[in-house]
């Protein structure tokens, strides 16, 4: 019976996730394909920049500027934006659309509804990142790159966990308030503030404070160079888990809208 909820959730998310995944995958394919020829030019451009600025620009990663931009800017921002919007409407969207009334009268508990929504969200993020990685892996196969497919996978997994963390935060705010617009603006605001603090604080010599930002745990360990950082992934997973627990507890207690 919960499987049916999950099926419905996946059916609901299918198109959005497929479009985003294919676009990111295609983008990743071309980005990696041209990175070889571009890297020389860009390396010359950035080689005299301070380390922190290089990190900010994204040119200090293996594969150079284009791959750097892909992993530190384009893909994570697209993924987090999707995660926030999808997470915010996962539970609260049913209330905005007034379908919660008939759904919650079925023989399923609120916890089951919420967990089905959370699983659907996680699986769609997994699908998006898998397509993104597939684009990278194809380009690597076709054109070769300085990066191994294992390193590309590591970078992708870090992004996936980042997406999961923000999706869970948005889901929790939506589950607690029943208002998707509140959830997306608050979670989106947190994501932007956290992104900026992770990018800017090191420039100001306040690198320690950047560790408060989820983005630090997605990008800070430089997974494209160093592979998976299990401690950092653990922080993101823990953040997501805490958000889901908060979501369940608050969603069970309150009055439903719609």
């Amino acid at each position: 019976m919960s499987a049916e909820l999950l099926t419905q959730e996946l059916r609901h998310r299918r198109n959005g996730a497929a479009v985003l995944g294919l676009v990111l995958g295609a983008y990743a394919f071309f980005a990696l394909a041209i990175s070889g020829s571009l890297s020389q030019t860009l390396d010359n451009l950035t080689k005299n920049m301070p380390q922190a600025l290089k990190a900010f620009v994204g040119s200090n990663v293996p594969g150079g500027y284009v791959v750097g931009e892909t992993f530190t800017l384009i893909a994570p921002i697209a993924l987090v934006a999707y995660a926030v919007v999808a997470g915010a409407s996962a539970v609260a969207g049913e209330e905005r659309d007034r379908t919660m009334s008939i759904l919650s009268a079925q023989p399923v508990t609120r916890t089951r509804i919420l967990l089905a929504k959370a699983s659907g969200l996680a699986l769609s993020l997994l699908a998006v990142t898998a397509l993104f990685w597939a684009g990278l892996a194809l380009a690597d196969l076709a054109y070769g790159s300085q990066l191994t497919s294992g390193r590309l996978a590591a970078g992708t997994i870090h992004l996936l966990l980042l997406g999961l963390a923000f999706a869970a935060i948005a889901l929790a705010i939506g589950a607690a308030t029943g208002r998707p617009e509140v959830a997306s603006s608050v979670a989106g605001g947190i994501a932007v503030a956290a992104y900026l603090s992770n990018a800017m604080l090191p420039l100001a010599g306040l690198g320690r404070w950047a560790k408060l930002s989820p983005w630090y745990y997605a990008l800070g360990s430089d997974p494209l160079r160093n592979g998976l950082d299990l401690a950092h992934l653990g922080v993101l997973a823990g953040l997501a888990a805490i958000a889901i627990v908060v979501a369940v507890l608050t969603f069970r207690r309150r009055d439903l809208k719609g």
Binding site: E4, L5, H12, T99, S101, I102, S104, A105, P107, G258
Partner: protein
């Protein structure tokens, strides 16, 4: 099953300062059709959503099918069918996909029965819900509520959007549910929708249950009307002081008389002049209904009906326009 289908005591729900539901003691018997009446905003839907554990009571408690509505809502949901007021469904699913979805959430239902319900209600299941008229959407909602033959049906404004023919079929279906020993809890803001099927009605106003009465009892007490047409204009005082008369509107040769109880005195008074035509109207529960929920403080009822006689009017209060 001997316990009441629905039992609440002191059920109360505040939204901020506003008491949407204010100390409702409700008892719906197993196997009856209970009409839950009140104007829009009186607290009908809030009461229902408390019963379904979608809202949490500020105070008071209740049982549905003998199960505590807070502690055992999952079991309650397994045994009830619910049609929300102002129904919304998933616009991208077809009617059939919608039914399939809810059927699977219930662990499967008898698909032949779904087919039968769809045919009886003349429901179109083939198109997407977003393309349906509100009537067809309502039919999907009804199939969804009926399809697992629940012990208790909770229907919030089920008639909205249904054409008269389908309303008739729907009422037959309700009677069949009752014949089956199952229970129906039916909310509405118009009495005519429930008076033909309900055994008892409860009237809610401003969150309070004003009265619970058998429908036939209400009908017995109901105000009836006689319209007379005279050969010549009659004086305004013709029905003044006549026993049982609530109001008499006289314009020239026409007289509209509302009365309760015996018709004899009314006829005797009427026959003092030359009657050429007489038209009788059925007992109108609407008037009782209005009388019950007319606010004595503001003298205005929320539905905007004015000028209707109230049973609480003074005995000799023949008001004449």
């Amino acid at each position: 099953m001997t316990e009441a289908a629905i039992h609440t005591s002191g059920l109360t729900k505040y939204f901020g300062e506003l008491a949407a539901v204010d100390g409702i003691d409700l008892e719906v018997k197993t196997g009856e059709i209970f009409g839950f009446l009140g104007p829009n905003g009186a607290g009908k839907s809030t009461t229902i959503r408390l019963l379904l554990d979608q809202l949490r009571p500020t105070s008071g408690h209740g049982e549905v099918l003998g199960l505590d509505l807070r502690e055992r809502s999952l079991e309650i949901h397994q045994q009830i069918g619910y049609l929300p007021g102002d129904l919304s469904l998933y616009p991208k699913l077809t009617g059939r996909q919608t039914i399939d979805f809810f059927a699977r959430l219930r662990g499967g239902v008898d698909l032949d029965y779904v087919e039968e319900l769809a045919q009886r209600l003349d429901a179109d299941l083939s198109r997407k819900v977003g393309d349906y008229s509100s009537g067809n959407r309502q039919k999907i909602g009804l199939i969804q509520a009926f399809m697992h033959k629940p012990a208790l049906l909770i229907l919030d404004e089920p008639n909205s959007g249904l054409d008269p023919l389908v309303q008739q079929t729907f009422q037959e279906m309700l009677r069949e549910v009752r014949a089956d020993g199952r229970t129906v809890f039916l909310s509405s803001h118009t009495l005519s929708e429930v008076e033909r099927v309900a055994d008892r009605v409860g009237i809610i106003r401003h969150g309070r249950l004003v009265v619970v009465e058998r429908v036939d009892e209400l009908k017995r007490k109901a105000i009836r009307r006689l319209d007379f047409e005279y050969a010549e204009p009659v004086p305004e005082g013709v029905f003044a002081g006549v026993e049982g008369v609530r109001a008499a509107d006289i314009h020239g040769v026409f007289a509209e008389v509302s009365y309760e109880g015996s018709v004899n005195a009314v006829l005797q008074a009427a026959m003092t002049h030359d009657v050429v035509n007489l038209h009788s109207r059925d007992a109108d529960l609407e008037e009782i209904f209005l009388a019950y929920y007319r606010d004595p403080n503001d003298g205005d009822d929320p539905q905007g009906h004015t000028g209707r006689p109230a049973p609480s009017a003074s005995k000799d209060g023949n008001h004449v326009r």
